[in-house]
Symmetry: C2
Subunit: 204 residues, 2 copies
């Protein structure tokens, strides 16, 4: 019944952390953020729960690391594609479509990250990480916009920060609305409206 030789596997702390974060993501996706605990993560990873304490020091550190890694990874994925060197309206419209497609590929995971982020905002210990996530998103969008502007060689009629804020808000809206409703039927309408809102922001 019992294993003949318990054969411990020894990992470097950094590797162990990565492995445990993978396990944490699985727990979160499968059973929800509320199910995250030292024990559930340890069980999923096949180690004693003490190992999680050892690797992260405390649950707070685990959640902080999880939020950081997930938000960075998923944010990068969502904004991986460069903006096409086309008129602003078309470029952003295409980007928003790509954005939704990316959400679709890992719907539950994005949903759970949203939950984790919402939770983080009301926690003194995590509010910093939530703030960093938002800054990272803004940064990614800014990067895309600047690359696009350089390729297009046209001028904006508004400051870059305004355009970034608009695209950011549109993306948040798309994410929140689609994750909540799953309304595939109206995605095109919403994307079209959001991109149409950009007319006049680029000087011909």
């Amino acid at each position: 019944m019992n294993e003949p030789s318990p054969r411990r596997t020894y990992l470097d702390v950094d590797d162990r952390r990565r492995q445990l974060l993978d396990a944490a993501v699985q727990v979160m996706v499968h059973d929800g953020v509320a199910a995250l605990s030292l024990r559930s993560v340890a069980q999923r990873a096949g180690v004693a729960h003490r190992v999680v304490s050892y690797a992260f020091g405390s649950k707070g550190e685990l959640v902080t690391a999880l939020l950081q890694r997930e938000s960075e990874l998923l944010t990068r994925r969502l904004w991986a594609e460069p903006l096409a060197p086309a008129p602003l309206v078309d470029a952003v419209g295409a980007a928003l479509h790509t954005f939704v497609d990316e959400l679709r590929l890992d719907r539950v995971r994005h949903e759970r990250l949203a939950e984790l982020t919402a939770m983080a905002r009301s926690s003194d210990a995590l509010v910093g990480a939530a703030r960093a996530e938002i800054d990272a998103v803004r940064g990614e969008i800014e990067r895309l916009v600047e690359a696009w502007a350089a390729a297009r060689k046209t001028e904006l009629t508004v400051p870059t920060t305004s355009l970034v804020a608009i695209i950011h808000a549109a993306a948040e809206g798309l994410a929140a609305w689609w994750l909540a409703t799953g309304d595939d039927e109206h995605v095109d309408d919403v994307v079209r409206a959001f991109s149409t809102g950009l007319v006049g922001l680029e000087r011909a």
Copy 2:
């Protein structure tokens, strides 16, 4: 130290529930969703924690009732103003400004409701309530759009459901983006872009 006469106050179950939900809102706003417990709510209301069990049966029922009441109340508040009988772009732009103003009046409370809703989506017991919240929002927007259309006597170039989805997504975006960033400086830009996206949806 103790009150001389403990003078119990007896309340009808419905009144007691209302009072406890008020207390729950206070706990949630003051200490976050994670701090919600039978005991914290009871303490805030000044009753024995057993009373909360009696009134709601279980914590799940308490949270369900809380989510229902909060989402209905706040949704109604956000969409209380009728759409002005003006061109669609202007009417929706004004509505979105009102929407943000309303968010501002009770920022933390809206933030916490968002957290509660995100949590509800991954809970089998609460997903129904979360779904109902979304339907209620859609219903409110639909009501406003229909009243506006009746007053304007113009036609839409898209189905009503499309316009509702667009406004809904815009509102979600505004809420998520503004609650996350608190970026008052760019609210006007975002609202302008979102309403500009509606050009052409109304037949002149």
